[in-house]
């Protein structure tokens, strides 16, 4: 289901996802329940949508000030996977909503993310489906268009993707590198993993430690922001080098020490994957 289905972005991407083959059972728009929008059934509340359609996954497009309530509503309604596309969500809002959703057994991807896609199967996000192709490489990324760039290069080189997940560019997010590395490691349809990181935080360093211990599939990486200055937010709220930590250099060193192949150019990734897998 889609929360905010009558909004500009929600409506547009609902159609795109349907075109890609995703089963979109409807969406919410408070006060517009009972109507239809572009062929989708519109409901007032999540609980009503779930009751009528049995939805178990939601994608949220509502404006940033309402995302906290939307996430909590989804979790309360019994939704188990919540994908938050909206950008600009206040951090304390997300922290609270995530805490609530986690207590109710729901998982979150995002906010400020492009969603996820299993090429040829389903798209729950805003990614351009046509640049993806089915295959056996898993992709995890903090970024949007940079992911597309990488995936496009993979697709052109004949390397398909099992699943690609944009985990979002905010400092605090739902599922993150380690969660998804674990899933890809356990996924029989994935042979290799591409991990696209960027400056800010130490999630890549933590991922490196996790890879060293638990991941046997080959991992390839690109870290954006090698030339970024300190203390400046590079677009993403999470992409900031603060107090000298969160630099690309540290991340690359950690990943390489964990046996990850870190590339200088996104375009070099396909050849390296071909050489190994």
């Amino acid at each position: 289901m889609v929360q905010g289905i009558t909004g500009r972005d929600g409506g547009f991407h609902a159609s795109k996802m349907r075109d890609y083959g995703t089963r979109i059972v409807g969406g919410t728009s408070p006060g517009k329940g009972g109507t239809t929008h572009d062929g989708f059934n519109v409901y007032n509340t999540v609980v009503e949508t779930v009751k009528e359609t049995g939805a178990d996954t939601t994608i949220i497009f509502v404006p940033a000030p309402f995302v906290k309530d939307a996430i909590m509503e989804a979790a309360d309604g019994g939704i188990k996977l919540i994908i938050v596309i909206t950008e600009g969500v206040p951090t304390l809002d997300f922290i609270a909503a995530r805490h609530y959703a986690t207590a109710l057994g729901a998982r979150i991807i995002g906010p400020n993310c492009p969603g996820l896609i299993s090429p040829g199967k389903s798209l729950v996000g805003i990614m351009p489906g046509n640049i993806f192709t089915p295959g056996r490489t898993g992709v995890i990324s903090r970024s949007g268009t940079l992911t597309y760039e990488v995936v496009y290069n993979l697709t052109l080189a004949g390397i398909g993707q099992s699943t690609a997940v944009g985990i979002g560019g905010d400092p605090v997010s739902g599922l993150y590198f380690i969660d998804l590395l674990q899933m890809f490691q356990g996924d029989p349809e994935t042979d290799s993993i591409v991990m696209i990181g960027e400056i800010g935080g130490d999630a890549e360093e933590r991922a490196a430690a996790y890879i060293k211990e638990h991941v046997t599939k080959p991992v390839f990486s690109f870290i954006a922001g090698q030339s970024a200055p300190a203390d400046k937010r590079m677009g993403h709220a999470g992409a900031i080098i603060s107090s000298g930590t969160g630099t690309a250099k540290e991340k690359i060193a950690a990943l390489e020490a964990a046996g990850v192949t870190v590339l200088n150019e996104p375009a070099d990734i396909p050849a390296k994957i071909k050489a190994v897998v």
Partner: protein, 376 residues
Amino acid sequence: MKIHEYQGKELFDRMGVPTAKGKVCRSVEEVLSAYEELGLKKAVVKAQVLTGGRGKAGGIKIGENREEVAAAAKAILGMEIKGLLVDRVMVAEAVEIASEYYFSFAVDRNSKSVVMILSREGGVEIEEVAAKTPEKIEKIPIFPFVGIPDFLAKKAAAILFDDWKLVMQGKVMIQNLYKLMVETDASLVEVNPLVVTKDGRLIALDAKLNFDDNALFRQPEIESLFEPDEEEKREQEAKANGFSFVHLGGEIGCMVNGAGLAMATMDLIKLYGGKPANFLDIGGSSNPRKVIEAMKLLLSDKDVKVVLINIFGGITRCDDVARGLITAFNEIKTDIPIVIRLTGTNEKEGRKLLEGTPFHSAETMGDAIKKAVALV
């Protein structure tokens, strides 16, 4: 968003967090009248600049009397710290310190919560303590809906203090600081040093606050505290147009859709021996209006010698993007060479449309950057 120490101190005062009495001043005269007005004896003069390491840079001085305070103010006002001009100082009571501590609330990416950070090693940079003696730092994650019940505030204060009277003072301070954090959507509330004076009072001797940019829409009062420098003003203007912009000082102006791709573009320019002039993410779509505004922004930087446009056409197809670019550049006339790289959906059609235009078109990112570097 960051604010000055004296602004943080005002927020502390309002929330009932004890601070040393003091006042912000913009001249030696103001410093002296504040010195009288506050009835100070031994006083500290502190540069008000939005960076750390003021002490090391000579931006904090103590005066035992009126004359020494005046001299300190004169020395500090007008100095530069990490490239920032000191245009105001805070003059404050120099309290008699018995012991120093570190205290903060910060947003923690890993525990995905607000954490309380405490250490008996105060007055030094916490990163140093964390690197050298991590066992001297305690972190307590806060449940968002629960906040800080009495027991938790006492438990935390007892990490810092052995004396129960101080624990009880600390408890109140901790609860008030958390209230401040939540009510102002702060991403950092740091007191370093938190001190106990020789007469047994607990005082926040510094007040460092960062705020969540994403929450400023509901924090008008906090937003009004923001004093952007020249660069930040440009970043703000860019933001008003829906852009994310950071000035970097090089010669190749970049216009990219998406923050990650924009960073990667900067990185590759450097890798290929060029100097990026900026980070510029023009966001999801790339309609002509946006391109025009972005070009104006890039061209306002007189160092820019080449403009590199790197657009990934996903849902918006490359042929539409090319048409938009042509429309935009029909309006903006410029002699600066422009390299355009379009990739993604319908990229061939897009490139075809750019044939015969004065633009330098490129197929791959590497190719585009090589061309741009060569054109500088």
